[in-house]
Subunit: 499 residues, 2 copies
Amino acid sequence: MEKFTRLRERLGHIADVQAAQAVLSWDQETYMPAGGGEARAHQLATLGRLGHEMLTDDEIGTLLEAAAAEVAGLDPDSDETRIVQVTRRDRDKAVRVPASLVSDLARATALAQQAWAQARTQNDFASFRPHLERVLELTLQKAEALGYEESPYDALLDEYEPDMKASEVTAVFTHLRAELVPLVEAIAERPALDDACLRRDFSTAAQWAFGEAVIADFGFDFERGRQDRSAHPFSTNFATTDVRITTRVVENFLPSALFGTLHEAGHAMYEQGVDRGLDRTGLAAGTSLGIHESQSRLWENLVGRSEPFWEHYYPKLQGEFPDQLGAIDRAAFHRAVNRVEPSLIRVEADEITYNLHVMIRFELELELVAGTLAVADLPAAWNAKYEEALGLTPPTDADGVLQDIHWSFGLIGYFPTYTLGNLVSVQLFNQAAQDLGDLEGQIGNGEFAPLRAWLQEHVHRHGRKFSAQELLQRITGGGLDAEPWLDYARGKFGALYGI
Amino acid sequence: MEKFTRLRERLGHIADVQAAQAVLSWDQETYMPAGGGEARAHQLATLGRLGHEMLTDDEIGTLLEAAAAEVAGLDPDSDETRIVQVTRRDRDKAVRVPASLVSDLARATALAQQAWAQARTQNDFASFRPHLERVLELTLQKAEALGYEESPYDALLDEYEPDMKASEVTAVFTHLRAELVPLVEAIAERPALDDACLRRDFSTAAQWAFGEAVIADFGFDFERGRQDRSAHPFSTNFATTDVRITTRVVENFLPSALFGTLHEAGHAMYEQGVDRGLDRTGLAAGTSLGIHESQSRLWENLVGRSEPFWEHYYPKLQGEFPDQLGAIDRAAFHRAVNRVEPSLIRVEADEITYNLHVMIRFELELELVAGTLAVADLPAAWNAKYEEALGLTPPTDADGVLQDIHWSFGLIGYFPTYTLGNLVSVQLFNQAAQDLGDLEGQIGNGEFAPLRAWLQEHVHRHGRKFSAQELLQRITGGGLDAEPWLDYARGKFGALYGI
């Protein structure tokens, strides 16, 4: 295994450079002073170029070939075999993208992130527009370089949801939308659930402490991670032993920080749970963004917005906020955090309409990539789709097209994975419930270790060894399926709304 | 200037990697969870190796030769000429140190920093000892690789105070000590100054805000910098537009955070003041640690512990802490912050005895490097020297040999620059006072812009273009001189103690 050992050493160096990039990005979103943006753009561009050069270096190609021969006799599911296989796929893709394009993208997106943050604060899409145009132009160049069969969008989607095609997403989304719309309509005909109790004054410090206490109970390891603030919540990792999450706190809207924290902790526990045997390889990460999102949504929604969860935590929350919640009973609070209502901001949307937010972005991306929509026309197109799907027009671009950081990062093809994650979360949760017996009872007792261990065993530890499809097949015996989520949604919200 | 332009592009990439390293080190000291240490050590080692490889690359050597020819006709003090000259010196030194040693040192020091932090908390030198032994061993290898004429210590000192020799430091320190000891003795014979008013309960948040308000007045630019907490205060920069400082807050000892903040801001304003024309070169930094320390000590002591400074700020400080300081008059407070007393902790020592702390470390380093002192015997040697020089024996190693982070970073040869900085600070301050007229009056009015501009003009903007000796020659017409500091110390403390 001499070549494999040398390969791993090289992969370690690449992982180090990628981790450094992640640290610099994290710092940019959390602590970096405004004046540091230009220099940071240079730094990220250089690290991006170096990481790309190191992965595409001829010697890695040679070592991969030699290592493939060395591992040929091993179990096809062994770490060694999968490291060679997944790295080869990554390298083949990286070789197709020129180093200059990688560097240009890194610089353009670093500047675009700064411009986005300012544009959002100042509600000024015009100042962000040239940055987004540049990012889109470079992203399309990347799609061409990567190659595709049906549509350039497939090449971009493959970065986040390997092996998935835009046409498959369209098919799933079309089916889902057809079932969702009647459910949203049925809910709209019922009396609204009252969530006024969530809109009282909740101190930042107490919100922060409560969220961190819950995720510590879930199993987020603060020895190997931490939470900071940023304009837009995210999770990132520099190693399985250093996984960072961020959230934002809204003093007069309790769900924002709390469910943001539970969500990002779901992502983070996935990264913290990857087997140490994959350390400092490209496999020490989630296997696809859909699977990643299944973890965040599972903890945020299937656990965090469930009745048993609040059986355990509501008395504690009332203890923290006696003036605000003392007179609100648990059932009323549970209804409040599950209120369904068409709204403008994706990250604050309910479980049902969230998917409409995703579909809007997916449709807009398809048009941007196809060239049938110009960036200049994006705010109008955004607003029109919100009016059509949700019956709302954003009063400002800050509440509309500027709300998400993703496009400034060049993350085009990323949004659909959010809804894929919702679907998978229920597939996994149902299987866990079947395997663990009384999962609801465990959650009601604040016992999260069995669920966490189940996810670790079946999902987390494998990192990127198995594709999303392989993983689902191993766990459920089948593939992606929207029906379990639809059953869950109809059951839960049917009961809540008396449909 | 085609080759020069290509050289600058390459130097930009090297600066980016070094900046990334600095970000990762900053994060390690401020926010990184404990579990992240091992991975961070790998990341820093890889970045250190890459930066070293990039600087020692043959093409940089070729470009430097070609660029030297291109700039031959320019003003010898031009940015272009100095960039070539200083980079050549840096590269010549870097070429002498093998990449493997750079990498080993980066990894060993990253691990040693973690071990030091834990050892200090747990007062457990034994757990730090093997790390320090390894760091010393590698540092001695580095000294041999760099080469020297008189002593391996010279090769290490040259990293921090270019062109200075251990024998010169010894000569200056011997003279200084001969004059210092009678002053300390004369002070000891006088009644002690009462500093009980500094040891009351001062809220962390108010201390933090007061310190930040003062350095904002000084001219520290928070758009291009920030302050965070760490176990040991430091300053670092990722660009002249992103300069970070840290401090620590002790609730019942006011000077710790405040003077730490003023000190680090002095360093940081130097970095923030470097001319943008040197951006993304190795010259966008302070020219030597002695000159760097002259800036921190100037703002901390010559400004921050002066009578005119407190004329301006004491009413404000009393306003923040009326219960603690309302009954203490300004003269009493000024005496309190200037109390001279032999103590155990360098960073909390007074202006006079501080230099004895430095001399102890310098002497111990000389012995460690000469091999006449083993790391195992360091705590005993440390304690013996403290007893001899200051009449005190540390009750624990945490208050003794474990108090400083420096050696865990591999910073051997660094300590003497603190005292060199003290000496230079007075040389510069006297010249500024001569040029600016009523400097004391300006400080008394809270007008720091003239002093800041003078330092920017004469020191900051040049970055590393001129050596410490050149800079002193340009400003004062002479070289390093201990007499101005001795005159200052005798005058100030003679008056305070009625000697």
